[in-house]
């Protein structure tokens, strides 16, 4: 909140006076981007969503709000080495509509041409696209690859980062480190209830850009500082002496289910190629956790495309697999309905947290005008047993093994 106040003050001090100062030198710029998209599937047993921050997703009754969004950015040059940026993106995103959608609000100091130091709110630079997942105009696909990006509810953090560029050979090497705190609000299953997380985040990346090639390797660390409120009743139950007397493994399960002070480690590599005609991109990641509700997962995608004038055709393959085995739940010594209910809850929890998803997509991007691109994409998903954590399930009933998702949309910037 203090950054927002800082920004408003800064704009009042500088913005108004410089906005009319000199047409030839833009000190103050308002830009934006957006997507108007519609998507739908061929099932009503499972709802498709862009990422785990969204509800309710789309089914065979199509919807606009999975992909549609509108972003506004204000940039201000305070001096040659100081710059301020704020970006707010209206979208389907669980939680406070203003605060959770404010993705950038930082002050940048550039003491030298190749050194950036930023303080404020910034995008979470965990994978190649994670800082600009909302800016459809900037990438080829209808949305960032689902297997790779849908499981990351973190869009931004409040803190600082430092980036330094080096000329290495004919290319440019970028080294970046960041750290801070991220407050996020996530939906609980298909309900309108919200869980809150306070996360300590830190990370580093090494990127190298040369000619048509772009490569990166990155590591990010996330520590959850507060227990998810909806889990508390369950944890209290598992920790109670009475329950443990009847069901001795209860307490050890509570340690697996508890999310407080648990860490996630994201490791990833990415490689992109673009020679103006052909383009290809791949990323691979491993997310290491010891959380029952967010088990370790390996993900990858590979995309290739070709441009034909203003039209680009592409294909995309994605895969994501949970690696942890689900815990085998022992039975209580005595069958007591309250303890059985507790056991069922844990069973459901561990059954709904896995990802087992593969997909193939074909799509088209047509740059109809400068700054306007029309996109359409067909994706076919294969979903394994207990593998639909990135989707939203109905309260009961079987979930399909395969789902088709169709999307049409227009991306623009201004």
């Amino acid at each position: 909140m203090k950054y927002i106040v800082l920004f408003i003050t800064a704009f009042q001090l500088f913005g108004v006076t410089t906005a009319f100062a000199d047409d030839n030198h833009l000190d103050f710029a308002v830009t934006g981007f957006g997507t108007l998209g519609v998507s739908g599937t061929d099932t009503d047993q499972l709802a498709f969503r862009r990422d785990t921050k969204q509800t309710p997703g789309v089914t065979d009754s199509w919807g606009f709000d999975t992909d549609s969004r509108l972003g506004l950015q204000v940039d201000m040059d305070i001096s040659q080495s100081w710059h301020a940026t704020a970006q707010w993106v209206a979208r389907n995103n669980t939680g406070d509509f203003f605060e959770q959608n404010l993705d950038w609000a930082f002050l940048r100091w550039r003491p030298a041409d190749d050194l950036d130091i930023r303080v404020g709110r910034m995008g979470f630079d965990v994978f190649m696209l994670s800082e600009y997942r909302n800016v459809g105009y900037a990438y080829l696909w209808t949305r960032s690859p689902h297997e790779f990006y849908a499981g990351i509810p973190i869009y931004h953090f409040d803190g600082a980062d430092i980036a330094k560029k080096f000329a290495v050979g004919e290319g440019t090497m970028t080294v970046k480190a960041f750290g801070g705190y991220s407050f996020i609000q996530v939906p609980i299953a298909n309900s309108s209830n919200i869980a809150e997380r306070g996360l300590t985040v830190a990370g580093a990346k090494l990127a190298y850009e040369i000619g048509d090639w772009n490569a990166r390797i990155a590591y990010s660390y996330v520590l959850n500082n507060i227990e998810l409120a909806p889990l508390q009743t369950l944890l209290d139950g598992l920790n109670s002496a009475g329950v443990n007397a009847i069901w001795p493994s209860a307490q050890s399960l509570s340690q697996q289910i508890a999310t407080q002070n648990k860490a996630l480690h994201y490791s990833s590599i990415g490689l992109a190629y673009d020679d103006g005609i052909w383009l290809a991109q791949m990323e691979a990641s491993y997310t290491d956790t010891d959380l029952l509700t967010y088990p370790s997962v390996a993900s990858s995608y590979l995309s290739a495309g070709r441009r034909f004038g203003k039209v680009t055709l592409y294909s995309l393959l994605g895969i994501s697999e949970t690696l942890n085995n689900r815990p085998k739940l022992s039975n209580p010594i005595v069958s007591v309905s309250a303890v059985n209910a507790l056991r069922n809850t844990i069973d459901q929890l561990s059954n709904s947290s896995g990802v087992d998803e593969k997909s193939v997509s074909l799509g088209l991007r047509w740059d109809v005008m400068e700054h306007i691109a029309l996109k359409t994409q067909w994706s076919h998903y294969w979903l394994g047993n207990n593998g639909t954590a990135l989707w939203l399930k109905p309260a009961s009933g079987p979930t399909p093994d395969t789902v088709n998702v169709w999307s049409v949309g227009v991306d623009f910037m201004f």
């Binding site: 040059d77 040659q80 940026t85 940048r108 673009d274 004038g309 740059d367």
Partner: protein, 136 residues
Amino acid sequence: MRHFLITLLLVLFMPSAQAELAVIAHIKNNIGVLSAKQVQDIFMGRTRNFPNGRFALPIDQSSPLRAEFYQKLTGRPVEQVNAYWARIMFTGQASPPQQLPDDEAVLQTVRENEGAIGYINQIRVDKTVRVLLLIN
């Protein structure tokens, strides 16, 4: 928006006005000549300095010359250059070069700014500016 529409009309009805382009700088800029890669680095925001360390202020155009300039300089269509800038801008890294409407406005700004670097149709070059690179 009006510029955009005019640009669109020009692109639609006056195609293939292929010109030789001159990358120009202030007459007192003693940098000599630049390579295509050095000009690319400045216009794509990879560096903010000339090779001699002086601050560079790239001046873009909103005219049809813009598409031709980037196609010839980077081998990429202007839509791709725009998508590249969308990524750089909306991740808070840098802002794209400011755009001026035509050769005359670029010439005027380059004459007045020692750090400026712009591009114009080569036939518009006069003695008041220095040519850093010719692009066919």
